[in-house]
Symmetry: C2
Subunit: 348 residues, 2 copies
DNA sequence: CTGTTAGCGCATTCAC
DNA sequence: GTGAATGCGCTAACAG
């Protein structure tokens, strides 16, 4: 049977409060009795009952991780990093994959509140107002919140982001330096701050170069591979750019695959640049030029911020901005205009 | 402030036991009072406190998911499927990424036990004896266990697997049918039943074809991309096969990348076949021929089995064997022997 | 320094 | 059918 604090107390010849004290390092206890209690605890393999202590207002050592899609390599790698650091710090992770579904979002807030998590990490935006109401509830309750790779100051909370504007800028700058002008953008559903900022950086670079943006080359429906393929196909059907900037690697891969289907060579006929630098970027053919996010560090940092907050070591909220980097591989190349391409374009 | 069962009782003009009864559908209550209580609960937005009920022996609606590496697309996709079905069934998932580290494994068992999870899904083997001892503890406690894609009858538990032997057989058969004989195997760390069975199927096909297995072409160090690259490079340095069967897609990708570094064309100079059919298989260049696992279904099934067990609807343990399928893409091709290759081989 | 006691929110005998 | 009382395991005053 499971050991309780009473068993330990009895075996150690003390009262339960003494045992509780050595467990929680509260109050003062003589070295000898503490020693004794510790010993007994080990002998009995005593494990405090989390629910009992949670019931009295203590922490649960659980944090919720809200993610749009754990199967997306970016979030998979992020989750791994988060889980690892959390474990080191003594927290378990409840994984919530919202699928960008507002209802699931709202539901999860409620579940997390009910389960009394110590804190919540958002790796997803919150869009619908119902979720928002549920969130407010959580905020009121004083549950620490941190946001990662999304930066919308909904409520006072810590934030870890990369400089998305700079990321978009780097991407565009790279394409422009290769001579491209007809550059398309493939965004997701247009709702996240990440996309918006990347796009902002993109436009800034285009502006600086004096290149006008062709609105018909701005496309986006969602974040999945399928979404990307559809959006890319729709775009190609109307107009074919010489380069594409996709706001994440999955979408960039979609572009490359669609291009292949259309007989467009990457990077010969079309340059493609992604964002995230996930494992996909290494795998895809050709290897993807992309803007790298320090995923591992982001995961680590966000957990650390949250932990500090949970432990009450923080007086004020902070925002940590990490720097993206351009990783040049083989999916981008200098603009090349010759008959062959023109011909191919004509056909399309 | 958080509503309790007392608030509801008071507002409904009944006692807490009555409220408890309508919540748990136990005992008999008059239709009218049940109605009334239900109303009040809705009005007050009452949410039962999980910890309090867990304390009285009820379930926690949490299940633990033990995975070797959530960043590996196979486990990422599996986790997504598991999470989705679990959510539908009212369970939250505590994500445990063990990194195949025995210490983390052991630690997680202890954590999960402490957190009083309703059940545990193993998507990883258990190797070291310490973990084993911790596991025994869990089994004794009667916590439902299910195992996925691993089949070692450690204890009575439900199992969802694919026919790994058949999978290995299919892979080898395919390569053999293309004329290959010098076929290498890239396994992981050699510890999991999945690998062993796939290898068994592989050998069976080789046997049937009367091809002798070259032990120097059996390699493996671990499951990561890095591991795969090292193992492949080490193998090529000694001997270059005409085809490679890798026990998962990540390792297959590693082979392809290493081959590229060595100037070996895939599939011209070297055919490569993987296992899992994750998103990587579609992305890699060339698209990977692989043995497909019905990941989504596996995740769904395993949760359903576990849920039944948790709800006590199962008298006996069961084992569900799903069928793998060969997915032919472009990383495998008929054996080709000509001077160009021989020459290249000579150089190596 | 240490023991006693009163809840935390809920499920569950017992009585009525 | 319904209510009062007890305990789950632990923390936090409150007394020594």
């Amino acid at each position: 049977m499971k050991k309780t604090i009473y068993d330990v107390a009895e075996a150690a010849g003390v009262s339960i409060s003494t045992v509780s004290r050595v467990i929680n390092h509260t109050g003062r206890i003589s070295k000898s009795t503490r020693q004794k209690v510790l010993e007994v605890m080990k002998e009995l393999d005593y494990q405090p009952n989390v629910h009992a202590s949670a019931l009295t207002g203590k922490r649960t050592n659980i944090i919720g991780l809200l993610t749009p899609d754990i199967a997306n390599p970016f979030f998979g790698e992020l989750a791994k990093s988060v889980e690892e650091r959390a474990d080191e710090l003594g927290f378990s992770i409840i994984m919530c994959s919202t699928d960008r579904n507002p209802e699931k979002e709202t539901k999860y807030f409620s579940v997390l509140r009910q389960k009394n998590v110590d804190g919540i990490i958002f790796a997803t935006g919150i869009e619908n107002k119902e979720s928002f109401a549920a969130l407010e509830d959580i905020v009121e309750k004083g549950i620490p919140l941190v946001m990662i790779s999304q930066d919308r100051a909904l409520f006072p909370m810590d934030v870890v982001v990369i400089d998305d504007v700079m990321g978009g800028y780097l991407a565009a700058k790279h394409l422009i330096s290769l001579g491209h002008q007809k550059i398309a953008c493939l965004i997701g559903d247009g709702s996240t701050t990440g996309e918006k900022d990347r796009l902002k950086g993109f436009k800034k670079a285009m502006d600086e170069a004096g290149i006008e943006i062709d609105e018909s080359l701005m496309a986006g429906t969602g974040f999945s591979l399928q979404n990307g393929k559809e959006a890319a196909a729709a775009m190609f059907a109307q107009k074919v750019p010489t380069a594409v900037f996709a706001v994440n690697d999955v979408l960039a891969c979609a572009v490359i695959q669609t291009a292949r289907e259309w007989g467009l060579k990457v990077p010969g006929d079309l340059s493609v640049i992604g964002f995230d630098n996930t494992i996909l970027a290494e795998m895809i053919d050709p290897p993807l030029t992309t803007v790298s996010q320090p995923i591992e560090e982001m995961g680590r940092r966000v957990v650390e911020l949250l932990a500090e907050d949970i432990h009450g070591k923080k007086k004020s909220k902070s925002k940590m901005i990490l720097t993206p980097e351009l990783v040049i591989r083989q999916s981008t190349a200098p603009l090349r205009i010759d008959e062959k391409i023109s011909e191919k374009r004509q056909q399309l």
